[in-house]
């Protein structure tokens, strides 16, 4: 009696999984009809976000971010270089987003992901245009030496909303960043000094390790649009079924840093407005997450 019930239960479960694979759109729509999503989230609910600063000890600034199952690790490394003639008082930032084969079965070593250079460029545009980074802070000696910051973001697990997670990790890595001490050698070259023995031996260009002052921090939210329903923070399963999504990036003064909607079905103005208001709500949540992670790191350091 018990085994028969268990067998029919198993048969019932198998059918659901098969239905999920064979008819993904119908599977999703049956959930949406009840205003819920396959992973039991509400329509406008975002997945749990965690930020851990200082994940890469060899980098000058780093962060590990999890947005549900999507995992990103970002690291900033600074290198001294001579600034360009057009802007002798400014440093520069190079942003690179990588999708190694570990992140998804669709990415293989000979088959790089199409999304990687696009997300790379979008991240660079957003970070520069939002005014979060003041390039003048990256200057050491005007006209001779400045910092070149290499920001590398590696996707460790791709489960939807890649741009959102990448942006949070970039922001967190810059929040964690501390510029190292620097000194000028006999040949006039500027080099970084690590450790404590250097303190007495060298004459320093900058007196102390410094954190960058960040301006308006941008926060983003990707929403999938299906008929009249807005799903916030889609997973990769939802993204593959619903081909229409909008990524809205807002800053702390409610201005729109970027709205990217690439193709998909025609979206009405109400849908776009809905996505913008969801992005604004998300900004408050994300700011709290970032502040908590900074506090957590400071507590760890004093212990």
């Amino acid at each position: 009696m018990a085994t028969a019930a268990a067998a029919s239960g198993l048969a019932g479960e198998m059918e659901v999984e098969a239905y999920r694979r064979l008819f993904p759109l119908a599977f999703l729509e049956r959930h949406l009809g009840q205003s819920i999503r396959p992973d039991a989230r509400r329509l406008s609910q975002v997945r749990e976000t965690t930020v851990a600063l200082g994940a890469v000890s060899t980098a000058h600034g780093s962060a590990l971010v999890r947005l549900g199952d999507t995992t990103m690790i970002a690291a900033v490394k600074l290198e001294v270089m001579s600034p360009t003639a057009e802007s002798p008082d400014e440093g520069s930032v190079v942003v690179e987003f990588h999708m190694p084969p570990i992140c998804s079965p669709l990415v293989r070593p000979g088959r790089p992901a199409d999304a990687a250079p696009v997300i790379s460029k979008a991240l660079e545009d957003v970070l520069m245009s939002s005014g979060m980074l003041n390039l003048k802070e990256l200057c050491l000696i005007s006209g001779k030496a400045s910092w070149l910051a290499y920001l590398d973001i590696y996707c460790l697990n791709a489960d939807g909303s890649l741009f959102d997670a990448a942006l949070i990790s970039a922001v967190a890595a810059f929040t964690h960043l501390e510029t190292p001490l620097v000194s000028v050698g006999d040949d006039g070259r500027v080099f970084t000094v690590g450790g404590n023995e250097g303190k007495t031996k060298f004459e320093f260009v900058n007196r102390e390790k410094r954190k960058l002052t960040l301006g308006d921090i941008p926060f983003s939210l990707t929403c999938a649009l299906h008929k009249d329903i807005i799903l916030a923070d889609p997973t990769s399963e939802e993204e593959s079924i619903i081909e229409t999504y909008v990524t809205v990036v807002v800053d702390s003064s409610d201005r729109i840093v970027s709205i990217q909607k690439l193709g998909g079905s025609v979206a009405s103005m109400e849908a776009i407005k809905g996505c913008i208001s969801l992005a604004k709500e998300r900004r408050h949540q994300l700011r709290d997450v970032l502040t908590n992670s900074v506090e957590a790191m400071e507590v760890d350091q004093t212990e």
Binding site: L106, R111, D114, A115, P117, V118, S120, K121, A122, D125, S129, S130, G131, E243, T244, V246, D251, D254, R255, I256, V257, S258, I259, Q260, K261, L262, G263, G264, S265, V266, A267, S268, M269, A271, I272, I276
Partner: protein, 240 residues
């Protein structure tokens, strides 16, 4: 309110002179040369060809876009343009008509004087029509910029794009016109036009963004009419 004059003498809502040449390339299945002022893009469509690339859904037709810049190597900017175009064109094509096929769209930038992406999208839409690829509707793309005083200017050129703090490239479906001209005009306007693609650069306020969309929508009916006339002319010259 003061009438804002732009550097090249245009009014804020004025577009540059458009031109579209149908099928300049004879080997391609369909091609179009779309010019907006000095920005010129040549689009060529080859397809449908049999087979899809690995990773694409074989139950639908797939679109492959190749963007060739005027000078320089292919970098991230070109990859971004390719992805924007691919996703925009995928949304207008009827992909289930020819499953398991690939249609290639090759874009060559001949001249770049601002609003390059909208010009390319218009060129590829025209080229797809000339190639006979089944489409749900046409796309109309327009570049809008926001000046410091909040005025929205349309069809920005390179000098304006470099000066402006923010600009947006918007793509709308073309305006509907009923075949039966006896139907009242109000019915067309009732149909709400939406947004297919939006790519923004620079920070702007929410109101500025929706202003851009409004102005873009208004101008898009002019571009729609131009496209309709060009396509009708080409179709009639083919029959002749």
């Amino acid at each position: 309110m003061e009438d804002t004059r732009r550097a090249d003498g245009r009014s804020p809502n004025q577009l540059r002179p458009f031109s579209c040449t149908g099928n300049p390339l004879h080997r391609a299945h369909g091609s179009a040369r779309w010019a907006q002022g000095d920005t010129v893009v040549l689009a060529a469509v080859y397809g449908p060809k049999p087979g899809t690339r690995k990773g694409e859904n074989p139950e639908k037709a797939s679109i492959e876009v190749v963007w060739k810049p005027k000078t320089g190597q292919i970098g991230r900017q070109e990859k971004e343009y390719e992805m924007i175009l691919k996703r925009t064109l995928q949304s207008i094509c009827m992909l289930t008509v020819h499953p398991n096929t690939t249609t290639s769209v090759v874009l060559q930038v001949v001249g770049d004087d601002g609003s390059l992406l909208p010009c390319a999208i218009n060129a590829s839409c025209a080229a797809l029509t000339f190639a006979g690829i089944p489409l749900k509707h046409l796309t109309v793309a327009i570049g809008c910029g926001v000046m410091e005083n909040g005025t929205v200017i349309l069809d920005t050129n390179t000098a304006e794009e470099q000066q402006l703090k923010s600009f947006a490239h918007l793509v709308f479906p073309n305006s509907r016109k009923s075949v039966d001209s006896k139907e009242p005009k109000e019915k067309d306007e009732e149909f709400e036009r939406g947004l297919i693609t939006s790519v923004t650069h620079g920070v702007m306020s929410e109101d500025d963004y929706f202003n851009c969309i409004e102005r873009g929508l208004a101008a898009s009916s002019r571009i729609s009419d131009f496209m309709r006339k060009t396509l009708q002319k080409e179709a009639s010259s083919v029959d002749a």
